[in-house]
Symmetry: C2
Subunit: 248 residues, 2 copies
DNA sequence: GATCCACTTTGATCTGCATCATAGCAGCCC
DNA sequence: GGGCTGCTATGATGCAGATCAAAGTGGATC
């Protein structure tokens, strides 16, 4: 795959630390040319595992198209999703040898990759990449801690409403539809994946989605297509005081 | 307070990004002298709030002595602790104006502080501080995600066992007692604070601690002093496959 | 020692979600 | 069409942990 591939949307690299020549406003020099020569693309089919927890991980990457999940698993099979990677999200740990959790493609997935060693060397020479990476990691940490509140203290209904709000708003942000129009989006996850994300069972997820639909908080077309007529109502159901943008 | 204060233990700054002259093996130059001139100490009494969520935060800091907690709160009062700061832990967000959660001293607390602006400038000039900060933030992110697994999928008993293991091992690491001796430590949290950390109620915490004591997994002297006769047994109760060091 | 207060323990009961079970539904292949 | 397969919905039941209530504990203060 290359930049001419129709699936590649340079917009998607806008918020990743690896800004592509086409979209980086901050730097115009040789460092970006260097980045361009370093990058390569990898594709995965829906359901494929990108990397297993504990495996050696010698690259860093950002999602170009598709959805990936980060999950942790206990010996007995209990699973908890700990992160959701949408287009433009970054994955990888400069300075770390092995992956801390499973990374799985839930849809067909294309990632823009860089080998870790040269990337790290480039970071040293190009301070703003490191700074951007710190910023993004702090954002992820905030999101993770927001999620801890959800997992520890929210009810099943609040969890579902929160998930809808986050996915819907992320989706709207990606399309640059910042307006007040009702959110319309497709759920990128199965009921089971949502359950793993929310610390619930798939049956409870299904029941609560039905309940929110019955109560008019969301509208459903098919299993995946969602319309939110009133975002404030949804946020109220989610128990969110912040109307700020939870970045996942 | 200054370096001569008996409460100050330079060892405690060993893992913080702000390495003090006394303990930093990596740099011997002027940059550390600069750090020394920038730092100042702040003390808080047990129960005092260091900073409220949303408040302007114009400093970064590391814990010298005592314990602080990071908590998030919903409008209706439900609380979730999202982090625990022990001596040597770092708090603050270079590049961020406001605090993302409440920081509270649960014991008497001394922090070693740096004003944010000069600290950020120093980071630019001194790359290894920024790198160290990225490393630490990635560690925190891993710990947060480990905690997500706990909050989402572990039983009350497993949660308590996990907490004991983490606090006990952190405590042992601080004292540099790396041996196989049984863990002995004091719980730095009330039952209620543990409940807020684990996403439980204080009654459940109390019951599960009693149950672990009855089953010989831990021994208690008073309410706070804990002895773990068999760490492997505790880890098994915690449902941990990793025997790696969960950093909180 | 007596009183107080914050914290903890334990018991009784309730409930939200898990678990178990079954059926509906859409896409796909033959 | 018919049958298969993966996903979803919904009903019946059970249980872990929440909630409500009361009593125990130990340190501080007078």
């Amino acid at each position: 795959m290359d930049l001419n591939d129709t699936r590649f949307n340079p917009q998607n690299c806008g918020s990743c630390p690896i800004r592509h020549r086409a979209v980086c406003a901050r730097c115009d020099g040789d460092e970006l040319d260097l980045l361009e020569t370093m990058k390569f693309y990898r594709s995965f089919e829906a359901g494929q595992t990108v990397i297993w927890s504990g495996d050696r991980m010698d690259f860093v990457a950002s999602v170009v198209t598709g959805i990936a999940t980060l999950t942790q698993t206990m010996e007995d099979g209990r699973r908890q999703m700990v992160g959701l990677l949408l287009p433009s999200d970054f994955v990888g740990r400069p300075g770390r040898d092995s992956a801390p959790y499973d990374v799985t493609a839930t849809t067909d997935l294309v990632m823009c990759c860089f080998r870790r060693k040269p990337f790290e060397e480039m970071m040293v020479r190009t301070p703003h990449v490191g700074q951007r990476l710190l910023e993004m990691t702090l954002d992820e940490l905030d999101a993770a801690r927001e999620w801890m509140l959800l997992l520890g203290r929210k009810t099943a209904r609040e969890k579902i409403a929160s998930l809808m709000a986050i996915i819907g708003r992320r989706d709207a942000a990606l399309r640059l539809k910042g307006g007040k129009a009702p959110l319309v989006f497709d759920l990128p996850l199965t009921r089971e994946a949502m359950a793993d994300y929310l610390g619930l069972t798939l049956e409870t997820v299904s029941r609560q989605i039905s309940a929110l639909r019955r109560d008019g908080v969301i509208e459903l077309e098919g299993k995946r297509h969602v319309l939110v007529p009133d975002l404030d109502r949804l946020l109220e159901e989610a128990g969110d005081d912040t109307d700020g943008g939870l970045v996942v």
